[in-house]
């Protein structure tokens, strides 16, 4: 007789194995890591640059540098670059975050020798043509105007600004900032930042020895050392006083909420354990915030919490969009759930659930060779090695209810948090 009541036997999750990369130091000064795995004949190359400082309060230029990178070189116009990349069915795209700018090339291996030279041409000689810059300014202003109508966007940037001030992390972009952008500044920043000495390269895919030799030689021979590592600032962030910022918006049927405080970075020994705490509170579908505010009360489509580990600081945040009429109640329930973590020990049952979920999700996040590289990068840019993931697994496995309660007391304090509400309360 089929037993549908009891679950099948559970098999604990074995340790997580992340592919160890081989590494090379190129003579142009850049470091190259390669990850060889997978069945598909494709390759991804990423050039990662630390963002260099420009002038105070001009983070706009860092994102513009990234967005404008493919818009032309002395040899190729923006249109010609786009044409080549599209013709070979490849993806060549810059990515920007607060700390780094990355150029990504993803292509079928058979077309690599058509595309790598273009990528290097761009890294050597992007010229930021005036006409393309004008297009960028125009379109960015329009996108910003549209974003400013979204409560969620407004809440996020207000929260960041309150927590991080006018640093790169917290700066509030204005339409007029785009008018200040000019070619000369972009070229200066490009020459300072987009250089081998400031670059780490990650190659992933099914790569033969021949391919890897081709890649490293081509990069080394065609992308020469031009300057030393740029000076990178080391801003310090201090906790700001607890406050509630409400941006009233008349129209609208939902309010966007952001609540949080400064937290610890990935390199901190408590980080994995704090991740367990964060997951319990709002890091997965079965989290306390989801169970209480969505699945019990139906106030929202979704609510979550997260730990953001940045280069110079870290933060904890809760975010949601809720019906305006239940916004005040939602804030109360969030406070209740945070306080519960600080006063009541979590049951063994719930803790096991969170641990198993986290380990399974770690295993599941390593689906393809690209994701192995991404995991490695997380550790690497936090100054850690792959041992970190063994430490992580061990910490997650070993954490006790008592230790979690202590962590909550230390790192999650509603009375010290910043609350941002955009909409109505």
């Amino acid at each position: 007789m089929l037993n549908r009541i009891n679950p099948p036997t559970f098999h604990p999750i074995e340790s997580v194995n992340i592919i160890s990369p081989e590494s090379l130091k190129l003579s142009n000064g850049s470091n190259l890591f390669m990850f060889n795995a997978g069945d598909q004949e494709l390759v991804r190359i990423q050039w990662v640059f630390e963002n260099a400082d420009f002038q105070a309060n001009t983070p706009n230029i860092n994102s513009a540098l990234s967005a404008m990178l493919l818009e032309g070189t002395s040899k190729y116009s923006s249109a010609q670059i786009a044409e080549k990349v599209d013709f070979y069915g490849a993806y060549l795209f810059p990515e920007y975050n607060y700390d780094q700018t990355t150029l990504n090339l993803v292509t079928l291996t058979k077309y690599l020798d058509n595309l790598l030279p273009i990528a290097l041409e761009i890294l050597n000689d992007a010229i930021f043509p005036q006409q393309e810059l004008d297009t960028y300014k125009r379109n960015s202003k329009q996108s910003l105007k549209i974003a400013l109508e979204k409560n969620d966007y407004l809440a996020r940037r207000q929260f960041n600004n309150t927590l991080f001030g006018n640093s790169n992390y917290g700066y509030i972009q204005k339409e007029s900032d785009f008018d200040q952008l000019n070619r000369a500044d972009l070229i200066t920043l490009f020459k300072r930042q987009i250089i081998p000495a400031n670059c780490t390269i990650f190659v992933s895919g099914k790569i033969s020895n021949e391919t890897i030799n081709y890649i490293s030689n081509t990069i080394d021979n065609n992308w020469r050392k031009t300057a030393e590592v740029p000076s990178l600032s080391m801003p310090v962030f201090n906790a700001v006083p607890a406050q509630k910022v409400v941006m009233e918006r008349e129209r609208g049927v939902q309010s966007a909420i952001r609540i949080g405080q400064l937290s610890i970075q990935r390199s901190h020994p408590d980080f994995p354990a704090l991740q367990v705490l964060n997951t319990t509170l709002g890091g997965y579908f079965g989290s306390r915030l989801m169970m209480n505010i969505r699945e019990d009360k139906g106030y929202t489509y979704g609510i979550g919490s997260g730990l953001g580990s940045l280069k110079h600081t870290a933060f904890f945040t809760i975010s949601s969009e809720v019906g305006t009429e239940v916004c005040a109640n939602t804030l109360k329930e969030i406070e209740f759930e945070i306080n519960r973590l600080r006063t009541e020990e979590i049951s063994e049952e719930e803790l096991t659930l969170v641990k198993n979920y986290l380990l399974g999700s770690m295993l599941g996040s390593l689906e393809d060779v690209f994701s192995h590289t991404d995991k490695f990068k997380q550790a690497y840019f936090s100054g850690l090695t792959l041992d970190y993931f063994d430490y992580y697994t061990q910490q997650v496995t070993d954490i006790t209810p008592e230790a979690l309660l202590n962590l909550a007391t230390e790192y999650l304090d509603f009375n010290k948090m910043i609350q941002v509400v955009v909409g109505k309360i």
Binding site: R4, I5, A79, Y88, N139, Q254, F285, G323
Partner: protein, 414 residues
């Protein structure tokens, strides 16, 4: 190339297995052959609401998510106008838990009043978050009924209005389950580090005793051929003007579907595409412009949407789009251009094979379309398209009396 094995259980459940030993994970994907197109017009949004209720406990298992998370698994689902698709990713060592959970909810739900009450609220908040509280969020609520007059594609998956969701009753939920959620209307795919004979045993063990139910016979009204140009102008508190043009096109399995898909790529795939190059970069008319197809199973829509820059009139913007469409109708695209979009299609197929979840979902979908092997025939269907096909199909699609144009005018519009 995606290899798979296929068998059918005695109750009609179709099962496909894709063996991929490179991963420690497995995916279980279950596609139910029901979507918003199967709803009653007075009860729209129901297929999607029902998807939420599938997580509210089944007949023998009070909670769905918890036991899955306990074995390191994750799940989600989506509803479209055509299908409802549920998927689980979990460590392969715990795959049987997925069989246990999915077979029980195919057998029967718990039909909890409490779950219905909460999920009605959750879905209403989803409706507000995605469709009401965003600039242009309501575009599909407006554009669908403009383009479709008879076919149930005239409403969006979320439903026509909040009241349809608010009024859902538990009897409706039960009837819906009975009608659509049975083995004959489902396709099960398992992918990952698995062996077909083991999956066969597990499938027989957990699924074969579920009663086969009654096969749902779909009988939807066909959309009559459009014969007049349609247009709606919305004066709304949006930050910028916006234009959407929808054209009727082929259904998913017709040859013209592939042609239309490539036409949308020629117009809008990548920064070298025609609309991006000419209308955004060269003529400086739009800040944003895209062409895409809805990709639905029954005859779908070809959409062009764009946001003109400040200072550009809607009339100028619309004329510029039509100018490009006329070129597609009167001139052959270059062989080179066609080769380019075919190359992109080919590499996209290879990239999509990196993920077992993608492969599992695609296998289910092609099985639903009539033949799972379709997954391996897509590329050749695209490669067979000629420049003549592109021009002929452009002439079929891009006609004023086949168009529905929706325009948002911002308050400061001069």
């Amino acid at each position: 190339m995606v290899k798979y094995n296929r068998f059918i259980l005695k109750n009609g459940l179709r099962v496909l297995v894709h063996e991929d030993p490179s991963t420690p994970m497995a995916v279980m994907n279950i596609l139910y052959d029901v979507g918003a197109r199967d709803e009653d017009e007075d009860q729209t949004g129901f297929a999607h609401l029902f998807e939420h209720l599938m997580f509210g406990g089944s007949v023998n298992i009070p909670q769905y998510d918890k036991p899955l998370q306990l074995v390191g698994g994750e799940n989600n689902a989506f509803t479209s106008n055509d299908i409802t698709n549920y998927y689980i990713t979990l460590p392969v060592v715990n795959l049987e838990t997925a069989f246990w959970l999915e077979s029980d909810r195919m057998l029967s739900l718990a039909f909890s009043e409490r779950s219905l009450e909460v999920q009605r609220n959750v879905v209403c908040e989803e409706f507000k978050q995605r469709y009401l509280n965003q600039p242009y969020g309501d575009v599909w609520l407006k554009l669908r009924p403009l383009a479709y007059k008879k076919h149930p594609y005239r409403w969006a998956t979320i439903g026509k209005e909040l009241s349809h969701i608010e009024n859902a009753k538990i009897e409706d939920v039960k009837a819906f389950f009975k009608k659509h959620y049975n083995p004959q209307n489902a396709i099960l795919v398992v992918a990952g580090n698995v062996k077909t004979d083991e999956i066969k045993k597990l499938a027989e063990h957990w699924f074969e005793t579920i009663p086969q139910g009654i096969k749902y016979e779909r009988d939807l009204p066909a959309e009559p051929k459009q014969s007049e140009e349609r247009r709606e102008v919305i004066h709304s508190d949006v930050p910028a003007n916006s234009i959407y043009i929808a054209f009727h096109m082929a259904s998913r399995t017709q040859r013209e579907y592939y042609i239309a898909d490539l036409i949308s790529d020629l117009l809008s795939q990548g920064q070298s595409s025609r609309l991006y190059r000419r209308l955004l970069k060269e003529q400086e008319i739009f800040s944003d412009i895209h062409a895409y197809i809805t990709g639905s199973i029954d005859a779908g829509l070809f959409i062009i949407e764009g946001k003109p820059l400040p200072g550009v009139s809607i009339e100028t913007a619309e004329a510029a789009i039509w100018d490009e469409l006329e070129k597609m109708k009167s001139e052959f695209v270059l062989d080179y251009e066609l080769e380019k979009v075919k190359n992109k299609m080919e590499s996209t197929m290879v990239f999509s094979e990196m993920s077992i979840l993608n492969k599992a979902m695609n296998l289910s979908y092609f099985e639903l379309l009539g033949d799972a092997e379709g997954i391996n025939k897509e590329t050749e269907k695209y490669l067979a398209v000629s420049v003549e096909d592109i021009r002929n199909t452009s002439n079929e699609i891009f006609k004023k009396d086949n168009s529905s144009t929706l325009i948002y005018l911002a308050p400061d519009h001069a």
